[in-house]
Symmetry: C2
Subunit: 338 residues, 2 copies
């Protein structure tokens, strides 16, 4: 038993697909698979989703040619609550049908950790939101090894984050801490946010945010730009990186503005937790120095003097297609080390 290989499941629930894999302590993935989350769109599809996910995990376990000990199942999901093991009112998962009269949002709290435990009795099941899972992945497998104080910023459709202080992820009293994307950075005519308010950081700094910036700049600037040939609905944030790489003035200004908004917000976050480093993860971060340089410049420009030139902005060390599975798996490995 002692020499049996120890593995954990990492499960990443996304709006389109749910990916899961068997991961060892070094971050090697022994097997992985996927089920289409978007097939289970409505509130009533949730039990079938749990069944199919657990069946999938069991089949994946059986597919391995050796016996192993399953230490636990770690799950990253939008609106995941670590303390309760629940997914609470997710915007894009298991929604009420439009026909349902007076849908009660308090029913849209899904006890996923508990429901999965029923299929894997006695197994440790931990769940957190996707950005927190990525943060723990960075601690266990990535560039934050050995750091007790850092911030992780995940740049996708929105902006997620995880704060680590004194070597521990800050979950907060209700399990929802780390929502840097919803710090309000513009009080005057701020952009409408999906959260119902205006001026949130993620309306400026995210794949969606930089796209909105591109359209604002096409209106404000007069310079020609290849971006002017693309309609809003055909537009994708990656087109801005591609154009910027060719020196397109509107695209370059997009990155300067995005770096300014992010750099300012990071300077404000630094005064609260004083991190050693800030890691940028996800699609926009792949733009490299196009994003990192203005972000660093504006962060320093806005930094309180005691923190100046002390905080590094670095790329994530778990970037790549398996980052989300690794992050979720790391939840279990981190717990196991304590």
């Amino acid at each position: 038993m002692d020499k049996m290989k120890k593995l954990v499941f990492g499960v990443d629930i996304g709006g389109t697909n749910t990916a899961f894999g068997l991961v060892d302590e070094n971050g090697d993935i022994y097997a992985e698979s996927v089920i289409p989350t978007k097939k289970y769109l409505s509130f009533d599809d949730y039990p079938a989703f749990v069944n199919d996910l657990c069946d999938g995990m069991k089949r994946l376990s059986e597919s391995l040619s050796f016996e192993f000990q399953l230490l636990g199942i770690g799950i990253g999901a939008p609106n995941g609550n670590f303390h309760r093991g629940t997914i609470e009112n997710p915007a894009n998962l298991w929604k009420f049908s439009p026909a349902e009269p007076n849908p009660d949002e308090s029913r849209r709290i899904f006890c996923l950790a508990e429901d999965i435990r029923k299929h894997f009795p006695g197994t440790l099941v931990l769940l957190t939101n996707d950005a927190n899972a990525a943060t723990i992945g960075e601690m266990v497998y990535g560039n934050a090894k050995g750091l007790d104080d850092f911030i992780m910023v995940t740049l996708g459709t929105g902006l997620g984050s995880g704060f680590v202080a004194n070597g521990e992820l800050v979950y907060g009293h209700d399990g929802f801490a780390g929502e840097l994307g919803h710090v309000i950075v513009e009080r005057h005519n701020g952009r409408k946010c999906g959260c119902g308010r205006s001026g949130c950081l993620e309306t400026y700094v995210s794949a969606t945010g930089i796209k909105r910036t591109a359209f604002e700049l096409m209106a404000r600037m007069t310079e020609p730009s290849e971006l002017r040939d693309i309609s809003f609905n055909d537009f994708d944030a990656s087109m801005i990186s591609a154009a910027a790489a060719k020196g397109d003035p509107v695209a370059l200004e997009c990155f300067r503005v995005t770096g300014e908004m992010l750099g300012r917000a990071l300077a404000d976050a630094v005064v609260i937790t004083s991190p050693k480093a800030i890691f940028l993860f996800g699609g926009l971060a792949k733009a490299g120095k196009l994003l990192f340089e203005p972000t660093k410049w504006y962060m320093e420009e806005n930094m309180l003097f005691v923190f100046k030139n002390k905080v590094e902005i670095l790329p994530s060390g778990i970037e790549g297609k398996n980052a989300a599975i690794l992050g979720s798996a790391a939840l279990i490995w981190q717990k196991n080390r304590k």
Copy 2:
């Protein structure tokens, strides 16, 4: 030895006075005294300050009619660094004389914990900034007992803060975390701050901040106000509370504006650490509901939906003349419990 009373020294270094007292685990103060910090104004006076403080502490120990075991010395000081036990470039302590050519600020790092330990060999000496000391005082003696996630806001001449997450104070990697007073809340024509930047929270929310607001409002409003009879130099924040209690329209508007600025900033802080409660401490907090009501209202108005109506704003439980000594003493008691 086992039955000998255990006491710690709490030392609060302020710009005017340094107060110190012998405190037991319940927060009872057995003896206290003070030396005038302002007598030791210049850089060269620092060694004499250390000697006189330590002499004062020894005399106070000898004044007790019973023997006790000294568990440690806890110190709260402006710009105190917990990790290093230093006071670094304090604005109002041990300054270079104006005559000194090319003063080197890197010399103004005072190793106070180490220097005091020389006078009390083998004694645990811990130092942190005054707001962090008050935060730990709130955990050990005040209203935050048993809370793992909360924020303490200290309202004095400036605005200090302490963030507690997972039951531990967030010091950050360099020991300077928790500077909520230097989050930038106004990017357009923000008020000049002592830190060299503009628009910091403490330029609006503090004794100095509300005084600045009063003068701005006297310019903007036309209503009569008793505050209009007082010059800027004769003005004190407590006059605004007194006038507001009598229904003075300018004074009432001062508190509404102050609550708006603080409430917004707290809503942004909540998304980062998700505290169970926020404690307000210090002079301005004594204005009671004049400050608490608009602060709570604007915090909720600006709150991300997942945190709405979950976070309490409460008065500190260690308010009073000994709060600073208790906070510093709590540094040692908290360490001792672990």
